[in-house]
């Protein structure tokens, strides 16, 4: 952290940015013409997937706020078979709402490995009954089994994975049952002690009994209130004390801002000083960027870093967020999906502690201007080595067309293809026409559900059926999927930075925990390799500071790297 501070001071002291910037590669040249030939990549396979998750909003007409914010989805391998399973967060009755029979619960689907999933909610002892918004996954006890946290409107739930296909609810003993209006969470090792701490994003100080009437006083015109109508709510940070117990360290860590209205979170070492920083997308106010001093104490720097507001100098309404190196310069950039009439925000990491908004020149702003974005992700759908962008959309008002005749409640999702020169083109209609079918998109998760090396997509839908999209891939394009196993670092290696040298390029990817909106993608780190050449070198910088360098890690395979081993062992799904 001292290095980071020095770096910032040097830059502020008018020295050139390059003095601090560990730029690993020169600015990349634009790629050669694409090989996809306009063919469809993602096609919907919801019916065939066996996933029949129907989200329950609990809507009664009273326009309770949680109804329009739910919900997320988490992708993780709960049973250790190297196939990615899915946990869908569900709503519940609110206020005077009637309780359906059977009552709605969250659902866990097990990936059978034959292209289909089976519902294992009951068998796994999951299926939280709270009004769920988001979820997060992390191995809290380092036993090799990923545990699950559910962020609710009301008390949150922590499930410990027993490793036998079942979970136990350890909320009470863990001390993580935050009763606030939580919208998401991220497991992150904030103090560098090798175990995962827990950051919980809270939205507003909202109670059903204080629900206000917003919108016009006409039948059918009642609307969900905006964030200005309620006070904010501080986020929470729980330090992992070991033995399944956590301690609330929000205040001493410096993250308990009572005005926060968080909806998205991504934890990452943005300044590459060896500790984990945290970005929070806030609704209708400045975002937060908490910079870590290396000991788990944070300083909020969003204004100084340039990620607090939009480039017009005004706050936006941030929903989902993700981080990724979209321009290939080795630094992790930020993407934030915002409310309609605000463009989504693409913040380029300048490598000196600051970011610059590039939404307009990158071609993201115009196409997202009328969308309300929730799920958001950097993802290399076509395995060309450049991170594309995905955004799940859906208005926050179920009657928005009464107010804005050019907006609708369901909205098409969007894919932006990375041209490799710092700009994107919207490519939904060519790459994923099924995605253009409007729905009320909320959470989203990226995963390779059939282990074919092409990243697939899951979208949760408010009040609707979850949607599953399979990626057919681009013939001839290669990939490398890396599973991390931390020893001194946390078990999943969250926060590690991986740099792969291939065909004269260096691709940098981060091992992220939560991202997008209220969701988490699979924890494996994916590299699209394009069509030319085999990767020469893979470097893994672990959160502990350990660096593993693996020559010729191979391609078209999934490998596991154990911290400190210097080796990449092939992994075969199903084993």
């Amino acid at each position: 952290m001292k290095a980071r501070r020095l770096c910032l001071l040097l830059v502020l002291g008018s020295l050139t940015a390059s003095a601090c910037r560990e730029r690993e590669t020169p600015p990349p040249a634009a790629p050669s013409s694409r090989e996809k030939g306009g063919s469809v990549l993602l096609e919907e396979m919801t019916q065939r997937s066996g996933i029949d998750f129907q989200h329950f909003t609990g809507a009664t007409g009273e326009k309770y706020l949680p109804e329009t914010l739910a919900s997320g989805v988490c992708a993780f391998d709960y049973d250790g078979d190297h196939r990615i399973d899915l946990y869908f967060v569900n709503g519940a009755p609110l206020g005077k709402g009637r309780i359906p029979s059977p009552p709605p619960t969250d659902h866990l689907y097990r990936n059978r490995g034959d292209g289909a999933f089976e519902d294992v909610t009951a068998a796994s002892h999951t299926g939280d009954l709270g009004y769920g918004i988001g979820c997060a996954v992390g191995d809290i006890d380092g036993d090799g089994w990923e545990d699950l946290y559910v962020a609710n409107f009301g008390a949150n739930t922590l499930y410990r994975n027993r490793g036998d296909g079942t979970f136990e609810d350890i909320t009470a003993s863990s001390g993580t049952g935050d009763p606030s209006f939580s919208t998401g969470a991220a497991f992150v090792d904030v103090d560098g002690d090798g175990d995962l701490d827990l950051y919980v994003v809270n939205y507003m100080d909202y109670r059903i009994e204080d629900n206000k009437y917003c919108g016009e006083l006409k039948k059918g015109y009642r609307a969900y209130c905006g964030p200005e109508m309620y006070r904010g709510s501080p986020d929470r940070l729980y330090r992992n004390e070991g033995g399944g117990r956590f301690k609330d360290i929000s205040r001493e860590a410096g993250i308990a801002d009572p005005e926060g209205r968080g909806l998205g979170v991504v934890a990452l070492d943005f300044d590459r000083d060896g500790d984990m920083d945290i970005f929070v997308a806030n609704d209708g106010m400045a975002n937060y960027l908490y910079v870590n001093d290396g000991k788990g104490r944070f300083t909020e720097t969003a204004f100084a870093s340039g990620v607090a507001l939009g480039d017009e100098g005004r706050p936006r309404s941030g929903m989902g967020t993700d981080a990724g190196d979209y321009d290939g310069d080795g630094w992790q950039d930020l993407f934030v999906a915002n409310l309609s009439y605000q463009p989504s925000s693409l913040f380029r990491n300048n490598g000196d502690g600051t970011f610059s908004e590039r939404s307009f020149p990158a071609g993201i702003a115009g196409p997202t201007q009328l969308m309300t974005g929730y799920g958001a992700g950097f993802v290399d759908f076509d395995n060309d080595g450049w991170l594309d962008l995905f955004q799940a959309n859906g208005s926050m008002l179920d009657n928005v067309q009464l107010y804005f005749d050019n907006l609708t409640y369901p909205e098409p999702a969007q894919i932006f293809h990375n041209r490799g020169n710092g700009t994107f083109e919207e490519a939904t209609s060519t790459l994923a026409p099924d995605l253009a079918r409007p729905c009320v998109g909320r959470g989203s998760s990226i995963l390779d559900l059939d282990s074919d090396g092409n990243l697939d997509l899951v979208v949760s839908v408010a009040g609707g059926k979850a949607r599953i999209f399979r990626n057919r891939g681009v013939p001839g394009r290669r990939f490398l999927e890396v599973l991390l196993e931390g020893k001194r670092s946390n078990r999943e290696g969250y926060g590690a930075l991986l740099t792969l040298t291939v065909g004269g390029r260096k691709l940098t990817r981060a091992a992220l925990s939560s991202s997008g909106y209220a969701s988490q993608s699979e924890s494996g780190v994916h590299f699209g390799l394009g069509s030319d050449g085999e990767p020469q070198l893979l470097e893994v910088r672990w959160p502990s500071g350990q660096v593993d360098r693996i020559a010729s890690p191979g391609s078209n395979r999934i490998v596991r790297i154990v911290e400190g081993s210097g080796k990449a062992e092939p992994v075969r799904p199903g084993r």
Binding site: L9, L217, E228, L397, D405
Partner: protein
């Protein structure tokens, strides 16, 4: 009508749309201040629609015009466009403005509105075409200048953006916004010292202008003035928090105002007054609220209380025709007819297209048995008949 074209934009338009969304979430598109409805019925749809727009009831105006307007009447089409625009019905608004242009191809206000809608929807090329056309005819159209400057900046045309921003700054010399845009352009061009100068001017001109402060901090940092950059950022952060708190207070006030207006419409003036008082507890220096509270007090029979509110509103909005009119009516009710005449005449002068002050003046003259009563009554009727969309922009 040229007043539309040269009227300075009140605020940056993308935030205008986001703000509109927030306002609509709170209140719907009805009632953005203005006086409660219930005035005497107007003789034509146009007059009534205009009155509703003045009263801050664009939804009702929209409903009225959609049901009963004469197709092909460009004035009514323009009013429909205005009502639709304020309700967020951008498609309807665009269609109405196109109708205006079909009848009056040179109509600049309709063209500017179309450009504004295209801008809000991020159809920049379409907006640019419209703006080029407008500025070729009316180079001093401030809103067109500001819009084109912003679009050019977004599209990376720094020279074009600078030309427009400079002219915009000349046309709106008290507005910090064009200076902020000029500062941004200079930063992008690498002229950080020039940016510092222009942004310092912007901040001096409007210390609450957050974008100018942020850009100034950026310019300081690039110029190597670390301490100033940090101080400016701290101030920007403080401003953002302050503005957020103020927004929250305004949101609370709007919530109570909506209740108050509902109660006024139901004829429960005393209850309405209590709700206005709740609203004022969150936003005590809002002249619109003070005027509305005054009107509620007047309707409850308490002209003394009404005058207290209106006397508080007057220094906050000395050029507000509504405040003058209601104060005139309160003075009239209190028996101070001479005082009432002064306020009502001022209200009529401030908004010469509004028939309401003339109706009240007619009553005041009648009370004094003066012959002007008939003239004012006739004038009110004439204004109702000739209801024109002129002056709508000033009501925003």
């Amino acid at each position: 009508m040229s007043s539309f074209a040269s009227a300075p934009p009140r605020r940056f338009l993308s935030s205008w749309a986001a703000g509109a969304l927030v306002a609509i979430l709170l209140l719907g598109c009805s009632r953005e201040g203005g006086r409660p409805s219930g005035s005497a019925a107007s003789p034509s749809i146009r007059a009534r629609a205009l009155e509703l727009l003045r009263e801050g009831e664009p939804r009702k105006a929209l409903d009225l015009l959609e049901k009963g307007r004469r197709k092909g009447d460009p004035d009514e089409a323009f009013l429909l466009g205005e009502a639709a625009l304020r309700c967020g019905s951008y498609r309807k608004a665009a269609s109405a403005y196109r109708e205006v242009l079909a009848a009056r191809p040179e109509n600049l206000p309709a063209s500017i509105r179309l450009a504004r809608i295209a801008f809000l929807e991020a159809h920049y090329e379409e907006a640019l075409k419209q703006l080029d056309w407008i500025l070729a005819r009316s180079p001093d159209a401030v809103e067109a200048r500001s819009l084109r400057s912003r679009i050019r900046l977004r599209l990376g045309d720094l020279n074009g953006a600078a030309v427009d921003a400079r002219r915009w700054s000349e046309l709106a010399p008290k507005d910090a916004e064009p200076l902020s845009v000029l500062g941004t352009i200079q930063i992008l061009r690498g002229d950080v010292e020039g940016a510092v100068l222009v942004l310092q001017r912007a901040v001096e001109m409007d210390p609450t202008h957050l974008p100018s402060r942020l850009e100034l901090a950026k310019a300081y940092r690039r110029a190597g003035r670390t301490r100033l950059a940090q101080e400016t950022l701290q101030e920007a952060g403080r401003l953002e928090r302050e503005q957020r708190k103020a927004d929250q207070q305004r949101a609370e006030a709007s919530y109570h105002r909506m209740r108050a207006q509902e109660l006024m419409e139901a004829g429960k003036a005393k209850d309405a007054l209590r709700s206005y008082q709740d609203a004022l507890s969150h936003d005590p220096r809002n002249p619109d609220l003070l005027r509305a509270a005054g009107e509620a007090a007047l309707a409850s029979g308490s002209h003394e209380q009404a005058l207290e509110y209106l006397d508080s509103a007057l220094p906050l909005a000395p050029s507000d025709a509504g405040v003058r009119r209601v104060r005139g009516e309160a003075l009239l009710a209190s028996g101070d007819t001479e005082g009432a005449l002064k306020d009502l005449q001022e209200a009529a002068r401030l908004d010469p297209t509004d028939p309401a002050p003339h109706r009240a003046l007619s009553r005041a003259y009648q009370a004094l048995h003066r012959p002007e009563a008939e003239k004012e009554r006739a004038l009110a009727e004439q204004l109702e008949r000739e209801a024109s969309p002129d002056g709508i922009e000033e009501m925003r």
